[in-house]
């Protein structure tokens, strides 16, 4: 036991090095190497533990490897015949037993973490309950208790667990927010669960991690982690709020008219409209259009003019709009801001 501790002690600097190296890696709001939630933390700990074990094993292999290649290369003129060794039981037992031990060291935290991550919080009143539905190629977020429906941007309060129910409307997708925790698939005909929390406010990048068709690469979403007060405000806005009047009310009204004609079959606003596309009730508040474009006038117009050019294969099928119509729609859509 003491020997083992010494061993770990000697590994400590190595561990620090690895940790330092890894935590420096990538975009802090995207990378699994800079965990910002307890799930991601637990997973990162396992990653570090396994990397350390692997580095240890790899060092042994490489040291023997290098020594052997240098020491036993054939020298010119040496034509002696090496001893034909059959094997060595002692050595063979050693390199069977040690990996076993290392694997047990890895397996124990693996099992505890697996069960910790599988905890069911669906009936916990202190946990935010959310239903996530994957669509080709966008994410729908529903808060069943508050009756809120939105898309592309998921709000959760900081330091509070969220229990997430995962469903799919069409094919298999996978819900992944690397900085907050690992992924889980959304399977048609099945419901999966997952829990997450965030220890820091900020906007975290989420992505779809299962090939789901042409625009799988662009099926991004954002998790907005806000303070509890901000979160409560947001809920209040979404449930009871109304919209601020638009800057150019005339244009926006024209847009609303077009919207009622051509768009409402697929998009709902304030609970009225079809379910095929994202709910646009608070579209004006979103930072993105379709999860990937910046939500400004130009980009929104680009989306409305030719959605196919932005996201190949996406399911928003609309007739070609005239520039004027697009302007009106942009004005209208940007007026969908909750107060």
């Amino acid at each position: 036991m003491i020997r083992r501790l010494q061993h770990v002690g000697r590994m400590l600097p190595l561990l620090l090095m690895v940790a330092l190296l890894l935590t420096g890696c990538g975009d802090p709001y995207l990378s699994a190497l800079q965990p910002k939630g307890s799930v991601a933390d637990m997973q990162f700990n396992l990653i570090k533990l396994s990397i350390i074990i692997m580095l240890g094993v790899f060092t042994v292999v490489v040291v023997i490897f290098t020594y052997v290649l240098i020491r036993y290369r054939k020298k010119k003129g040496d034509n002696s015949i090496p001893e034909q060794v059959e094997g060595n039981h002692k050595l063979e037992i050693i390199w069977t037993a040690i990996p076993f031990v290392l694997l047990i060291i890895l397996a124990v935290p693996m099992v505890t973490t697996t069960f910790a991550l599988a905890k069911d919080y669906s009936n916990d009143k202190n946990v935010v309950q959310i239903t996530v539905t994957g669509h080709q190629f966008w994410w729908e977020f529903e808060y069943p208790d508050q009756k809120i429906k939105t898309a592309q941007e998921l709000y959760i309060p900081v330091n509070k667990k969220a229990h997430i129910k995962l469903e799919s409307a069409d094919v298999i997708h996978s819900f992944w927010v690397p900085a907050l925790g690992g992924k889980k698939d959304t399977n048609p005909g099945m419901t999966n669960y997952l829990w997450l929390d965030a220890k820091e406010e900020g906007v975290f990048q989420g992505r779809c991690a299962e090939l789901c068709g042409e625009s799988h690469a662009l099926m991004d979403f954002k998790v907005k982690v806000v303070s509890q007060e901000e979160y409560d405000q947001w809920v209040a806005k979404m449930t009871k709020g109304t919209n601020k009047p638009a800057n150019n009310a005339v244009l926006a009204d024209q847009g609303a008219e077009i919207f009622q004609k051509s768009c409402v079959n697929c998009h709902a606003v304030d609970g009225k409209g079809g379910p095929a596309g994202p709910d646009l009730t608070n579209f004006g508040d979103r930072t993105t259009v379709a999860g990937i474009l910046k939500n400004d006038k130009k980009q929104l117009a680009k989306w409305l003019t030719d959605p196919e050019a932005v996201k190949p294969g996406n399911l928003m099928i609309i007739p070609k709009l005239e520039e004027k119509q697009v302007d009106a729609l942009v004005e209208y859509l940007h007026s969908l801001k909750r107060e």
Binding site: C25, G26, D27, L30, S31, A32, M42, Q43, L46, I47, M54, V57, F58, V61, I64, F65, V68, L69, Y72, K74, S80, P82, E83, Q84, V85, E86, G87, L91, E92, P99, L106, M110, V111, T113, T114, A118, D170, V171, I172, S174, P178, G182, K183, K184, D185, N187, P188, G189, Y193, Q205, C208, A209, E210, L211, E214, H216, A217, L218, I292, G313
Partner: protein
Amino acid sequence: MAQHVRPRNTGLWDWITTVDHKKIGILYLVAGGFFFLLGGLEALLMRLQLMYPEQNFFIGATFNELLTMHGTTMIFLAAMPLIFAVMNAVVPLQIGARDVAFPFVNSLGFWLFFSGGVLLNLSWFMGGAPEAGWTAYVPLSGMQFSKTTGVSFYVLGLQIAGIGTLIGGINFLVTIINMRAPGMTFMRMPMFTWTAFITSALILFAFPAITVGLVLLMFDRIFGAVFFNVASGGNVLLWQHLFWIFGHPEVYILILPAFGMISEVISTFAKKRLFGYSAMVFATIVIGFLGFMVWVHHMFTVGLGPVANSLFSIATMLIAVPTGIKIFNWLFTLWGGQIRFTAANLFAVGFIPTFTIGGMTGVMLSVAPADYQYQDSYFVVAHFHYVLVGGMMLGLFAAFYYWWPKMFGKMLNEAMGKWNFWLFFIGFHLTFFPQHFLGLMGMPRRVFTFMGGQQLELGNLISTWGAIIMGVGTLLFLVNVAYTHMKKQPQAPADPWDGRTLEWTIASPAPEYNFAQTPRVRGIDAFWIEKMAGNKGMTPAEPLGPIHMPSPSVLPFIMSIGFFIAGMGFVFNKYLFAIVGLGIVLICMFFRSYKDDEGFHIDVEEIKETEKGARL
């Protein structure tokens, strides 16, 4: 007994009708090599698209087609046949057999693989390639979401190629069980033959699962069945289970022969017998067996629950133990040896640390909760290219350099071989090492682009440059082959490397009948034993006599055309074609069964003549 005249065919006809395992080996090599280049080209195009953020060369469906075809081509149409190439060229020679157990079936196996491969690749020109990934997960691969005929091509191409692989596997099993030379007991078989044996067994038991999976998918897509249609009670996880019950053993099907090749090359060039031979055999068997018990590690994130995840996680980790035994046995084979760094040995030695890295990331992936982070990210892409390219492909290159003289009677150029190795090796690490980090930094796999400003640029750029260097390395191999075969050079000696096993006791290239007289085997490394005893060659186990050979047959080729036509018929719902195609197959089977092959004999004079001309 009627003396049948020996059929003399030359040129193309000879290649189409041959039932000689050595020629079939060459056919596999050429076809597999071609598909490797094709798959490599597809990889290069993908890497080009991912060189910088937000590029627009190949996006959307086109990129998905590229990645699906790259994966499918590489696994089924490049790796499998290249392994079969070496198995065909080497296994019968290593066990002292004159032929394989079922020469006809062997040739049928090749032609089925080839027609399946051609069918699959024709999809590019006939309405679009499959685009649901090499794993073809439903429902994305179902008719509802994949409306082109691409996935139908995938289903039928793989089905046909799969049947070919399956019967090829049975042929090798029976060959190894029944056709060994006197004295060649199981525990004296060369390591490569052992791995070929276990790989064939894995093929036998793994391929039926994918056959069933493909049948279900085909019925859904073509005949209106509803296996995967959730609204009618279907289940989408069923496909994943069937695919991975096959798919995981498949990766060991690919790596085990490479383990065997490495074992042969390393022990030859260290001038030592394989360290811990019996442990190596045992480890191979254990890996093969465990390989069937771990498939759920590809499904950790589908939501099977913590119990299943923990169990399969532990089962997966266990495979590290027998594999570790192998790694250390190779190191200790080198230990105390007289290591010669030929091109073949460079590849073999390069394999060891590279595969170790791939294996270790495998063990990292097997930790279920951590895999929630890795799954479907570039970390996984890095893992499997380390084992597939850094493992299997390096093993195959080692095998090519090592056995080329035995297959073709010419030695590949060593200097070029070394350049080939270094370019490929360095290019490989440049390509795939950064991908570990890309994955952990949040880059999913199977994406046609990534956004700027997320610190993913550098890794992707290096990766693409690495792929280009790897491509140059591959081209150098082709140049080497061309150079070797265009230049006039003496026939290679029978035993150019100071070999240890039976294949080096006969001429290079091996004569049609392999062994003029079946050798008597006295121990492991049979040839080496005779060399150490001061003997020139093996002691024969039989007097010189006429040798019976099977006659060539064009039926396998015609049958594969029948399958091809039937496949096309099913893809395009033209059942008349399907029936005609299957009819051709049945008629060929009828002919085969109706007309017994009596073969022909090579008489003693001719054998003596051939043996005299050989450079032993």
